[in-house]
């Protein structure tokens, strides 16, 4: 047995080149999904054993180029430069050879070991495009392997070639590079010579590549070069500036533009030699589908239908397993309740841990289904079409067409909605979308509206609730525009988007996609939610020994005894009535007791303490306590109100309504409270997701503070404005 050696293989390629499929084929379910350090670009890797080697396969983000304009490109390039994988497999979509070669020539320039996987050549040839792989391999001095990703063909060959390449001696004579225009080549040689003479030992990148990047005015390379090369580096940079100015005057264009042109010129030459196109009158299925799906008249209705269907499936179909999980959690906590002795630990376990984690794990079915749907939209190619038809509208808020899906999902639940922002390529778009999505009124807020609007606006409740939804949308649009012109300034992400051909999705890839995301949700969210639940529980469970204003237990005892005496002397008929009365009296007392307990818990004290903040917006201390508990999950606002108005557990459905009606709450303060619930800080699960998806503490805190301030100001306007208008 030869000694085992770990070979790192990186997969590079354009988006939609079939890279993910090949990665899935190679690694199967042995994948590890995480994020690239510091950014939210997904990093996938898998460890496999093959032909006596340990292979580490890393899936680089799909990019069209390696110029560092997007995070994906920076991530991909840095991996190639800094981690120096043993082999890079560049997956080339055979039906898109010309554009694919752009990335290929850049990889070639870095001078790493590259292998081409010519993917889906069968499809290309059936469309009339034949590629001479031998010639391509010769011209670029790169081994070429044929693969058909979706039929799992050519994978072993690919691995074999990769191992062979990794074991070969590094080739030093690389003369199959792009040849740029004469003036550019001269400038490159000059810089290259300077680097080799003055800074060679300090800079670990290849000198020609460094020279090219400096001439292209590549910010990242320039910074690193200046860092490493010291004073001679400064001289070289100055010299480069001079050369760039000279080239600008010669070509009347920046060097990097001329060089891009030159690369495509070089590629055009290769294409002419290796690709033959027999013009066949072919039926383009994709275009025929698009005639319908992006049709001027029915494009939108179809889009709306798909979104509607996705929404229905996610939240309605998801409601069944949600119920099962819910009852499972309830069963678990009642089981724990029955076997454990009364103790603080029992309370923590049942109300803190099981209750808290249980309230989050119920989202799992939603997340599974939603990500399945999103994977379906992406893998078929429809997502790009959805962005295509929605872009005009989203662009008004300064967003990309793709932001539409997460924002819409926000009406259901913000957790999967924010996770769905992963489909956005630009980080700014992603953060902006994450910041404004929580204003979409999520389904957990609906019970609050139903109770409050139902109580105070009766017949007009529907209109009030509808207006709240509109207000949420309006605030998110205003916020979007505001952020775009302030915090997240900069040019909108250009809408240079490929519309890939429609493909039949592979179930396996859909399942992997869905499972990856959900696993991440379970694992990472578990920790945060667990801690958060315990904190919230502790705040409402402590202090244990509340000093009650009345001696409830002896009063309960007294009532109990006095009823027992009455029952003892009463006749048969009255006994039953008295028994019911006894139960009612005792439970009344117990409710008062639990209301006082909540009032005096830390949560209640905090609520009372901050209630001056809520006074100007017409919310009393009960309201503020329930809003605080709503941080845990929005629907809890209702149950806390129930506890505080001592109606919890009442059989009378209208108990809370009656209690609210007889309280000091007015129509105006109820409206103000609903507006506040609509806009204020997202729930714990959402905050954890925001933290996770923005990978930034700063943005998370900002989101909390911003939404809460907006909520307060909006409620203030409603309440004080309403008062000025003489409303009640």
């Amino acid at each position: 047995m030869p000694e085992k050696k770990t070979i790192t293989i990186a997969l590079a390629g354009n988006p939609n080149s079939g890279k993910t499929t090949i990665f899935n084929n190679l690694t199967g379910t042995r994948q590890k999904v995480g994020n690239w350090p510091g950014v939210t670009v997904e990093k996938k890797e898998g460890l496999i054993q093959k032909f006596g080697y340990d292979l580490k396969i890393v899936d680089l983000p799909g990019t069209y180029s390696l110029t560092p304009y997007s995070i994906e490109e920076i991530v991909a390039r840095d991996f190639v430069l800094e981690e120096s994988p043993d082999v890079i497999i560049d997956i080339i979509d055979a039906s898109n050879l010309e554009r694919s070669l752009y990335l290929a020539t850049q990889l070639r320039e870095i001078d790493c070991r590259v292998l081409f996987a010519l993917n889906m050549a069968d499809l290309a040839s059936s469309h009339g495009t034949k590629i001479d792989a031998g010639k391509l391999s010769d011209l670029l001095d790169v081994p070429v392997v044929f693969t058909v990703g979706n039929r799992n063909e050519g994978m072993d060959n690919l691995i074999k070639e990769a191992i062979k390449l990794a074991e070969s001696s590094p080739d030093t004579s690389n003369n199959r590079n792009v040849k740029y225009s004469k003036d550019i080549e001269n400038a490159i040689s000059k810089i290259q010579e300077l680097i080799e003479r003055k800074a060679a030992e300090k800079v670990n990148y290849k000198s020609r590549w460094t020279a090219i990047k400096l001439l292209e005015n590549d910010k990242i390379v320039k910074e690193r070069f200046a860092d490493k090369a010291g004073i001679p580096g400064q001289e070289i940079l100055k010299e480069t500036e001079v050369l760039r100015k000279y080239l600008l005057s010669t070509f009347d264009e920046d060097s990097e533009i001329v060089m891009t042109d030159d690369r495509y010129g070089f590629i055009a030459g290769i294409i002419k030699e290796v690709q033959t196109t027999t013009v066949k009158q072919r039926v383009d299925v994709s275009r025929n589908i698009d005639l319908v799906l992006t049709n001027r008249f029915i494009g939108f209705p179809i889009f709306i239908f798909f979104i509607w269907a996705m929404f229905q499936i996610t939240f309605n179909l998801g409601a069944y397993p949600m119920d099962w999980i819910d009852s499972g959690v309830a069963l678990l906590s009642s089981y724990a309740g029955s076997i454990l002795p009364e103790s603080l630990f029992k309370d923590l376990l049942i109300n803190g841990i099981i209750g808290g984690v249980g309230s989050v794990i119920v989202f799992l079915p939603n997340i599974l289904i939603l990500f399945f749907c999103i994977a379906l939209l992406e893998d078929t190619g429809y997502m790009a079409r959805a962005a295509f038809i929605m872009d005009k509208i989203m662009h008004l808020i300064g967003l990309h067409g793709k932001s539409f899906i997460p924002m819409l999902m926000g009406f259901g639940c913000n957790v999967p909605a924010i996770m769905a922002t992963r489909t956005l390529e630009s980080e700014k778009d992603r953060i902006l979308t994450i910041l404004i999505t929580p204003f979409m009124s999520c389904s957990a807020k609906l019970p609050v509206y139903i109770v409050l609007a139902g109580t105070f606006f009766a017949a007009k409740a529907g209109n009030v609730i509808f207006s709240l939804y509109l207000l949420g949308i309006l605030i998110s649009i205003i916020s979007g525009r505001l952020f775009r012109s302030t915090l997240l300034k900069g040019i909108d992400a250009p809408f240079v988007m490929e519309l890939p051909p429609y493909r039949i999705p592979m179930l396996r890839s859909l399942m992997i996609h869905m499972w990856d995301r959900s696993k991440m949700f379970l694992r990472r969210m578990g920790g945060v939610i667990l801690i958060g639940s315990v904190i919230v529980w502790a705040l409402s469970a402590f202090p244990r020994n509340v000093e009650y204003s009345r001696d409830y237990s002896s009063e309960i005892k007294q009532a109990d005894e006095s009823f027992n005496i009455k029952i003892a002397v009463a006749d048969e008929k009255d006994k039953e009535i008295l028994k019911t009365e006894k139960i009612a009296a005792v439970s009344e007392m117990e409710k008062l007791m639990s209301a006082e307990k909540t009032e005096k818990s830390y949560m209640g004290r905090i609520g009372k303490w901050i209630s001056p903040v809520f006074e100007p917006i017409g919310i009393d201390w009960r309201g503020s306590v329930s809003l605080l508990t709503g941080f845990f999950a929005k629907e809890i606002v209702v149950s806390t109100l129930g506890v505080l108005y001592s109606t919890e557990g009442s059989d009378d459905k209208d108990a809370l309504t009656n209690a609210l009606k007889s309280s000091e709450m007015t129509n105006l303060s109820a409206l103000s409270m609903m507006v506040f619930v609509l806009l204020y800080l997202p729930c714990l699960a959402t905050i954890a997701t925001i933290r996770k998806e923005t990978a930034s503490f700063k943005w998370t805190v900002f989101s909390i503070i911003y939404s809460t301030s907006v909520a307060w100001v909006a409620s203030f306007c409603v309440f004080q404005g309403g008062k000025l208008l003489g409303l009640q």
């Binding site: 275009r287 494009g299 872009d391 662009h395 240079v496 490929e498």
Partner: protein, 78 residues
């Protein structure tokens, strides 16, 4: 004329890609370079963005972006 002035079903040859910075570079990198044939497949239902066919694949640009690209209209030969 500008790429955004072509109508659905018309073809142009790219004369110059204007604009600046990242966007321009990005457009060029996607293969929309001087001398390339570009076909207007369709406009989105709201007239923006538009779908183009270039180098045998479909790409979408916003109208404002397409307005940075100068083309020469190719007369249809059927």
């Amino acid at each position: 004329m500008l790429l955004s002035e072509l109508k659905e079903g018309e073809t142009g040859i790219i004369v110059r890609v204007g604009g600046n910075g990242a966007l321009r570079r990005r457009i060029l990198e996607m293969g929309i370079v001087k001398g390339t044939k570009i076909y207007i497949d369709k406009y989105a239902p709201l007239k923006d963005p538009l779908e183009l066919i270039v180098k045998n694949y479909h790409i979408s640009l916003r109208v404002e972006e397409a307005a940075q690209i100068t083309v020469e209209k190719v007369q249809q030969q059927d």
